[in-house]
């Protein structure tokens, strides 16, 4: 199965910009289905970004983050060819991880 995590990490002069798009329903728990029943909350809780043995960013998400969530940030350092590892865990305990090369 294809990864749920799409990432673009581009190394600049002194910083690396990271953009990630994650496939996830991010159900808030406030929406009803066609039968009028509440669809239970199903959303990512944490996303961890690591490179060179160090965590460079942690996202703590609640149900108010949009479906198929997107996040962008930058960190100092990082060079082309380095590995960037991204891991998410959702409220049901499901998880996915991917490692991308910084470009």
């Amino acid at each position: 199965m294809a990864s749920t995590i799409r990432v673009r990490a581009i190394a600049g002069a002194d910083t690396t910009e990271v953009q990630a798009l994650v496939q996830h329903p991010m159900d808030s728990g406030f929406v009803k289905n066609a039968k009028g029943e509440l669809i239970p909350p199903h959303h990512i809780e944490t996303v961890q970004f690591e490179t060179g043995g160090k965590t460079v960013f942690t996202a703590l998400w609640g149900p108010a983050v949009s479906k198929d969530p997107f996040v962008k940030f930058s960190f100092k350092g990082g060079k082309k060819g380095d590995d960037l590892k991204i891991t998410w865990v959702d409220n049901k305990g499901a998880t996915d991880t991917t490692t991308a090369k910084i470009m």
Partner: protein, 165 residues
Amino acid sequence: MFIAKLPDLRTSRRGLLKGAALATVLGASLNVMRSVAAFAADAAGWPAEAFKLKSQDDTLKALYGKTAEASDKVKLDAPEIAENGAVVPISVSTTLPKVTSISLMVAENPNALAASYKIPEGTLPAVSNRLKMAKTSKVIAIVESDGKLYSASKEVKVTVGGCGG
């Protein structure tokens, strides 16, 4: 020892209250011990309590144990009128020093806290994301800089709600 207690935070109401009390005490002591972001949750954990609160003040208390002061050094970029409340692109950046955390709240959402980001040393104090807004509301950006909280807010008009309405 504290880490082992984390699963209780979400399984039962009693566990939640007990966990919250424990977290507040430990959170306060963590504040004393280190200058990095002190969350009412472990470094790998998720601040369940903070995500459940309705008011901004309660959220900040649960998340940071502090209050915030408005600062023009916090830049919040959000549209005047959201094209759709389900997907509102919002960015925060700041010139403040020693930033350890950036959080976003949506005042009129069922729960104020939308997202919170941990900024380790070496990471730029800026983040872009897409949030859901239930209706027209103030969006509040919180920046934790050198142990203190600073905020900026902007009203975003929402005509089509992001929660399925």
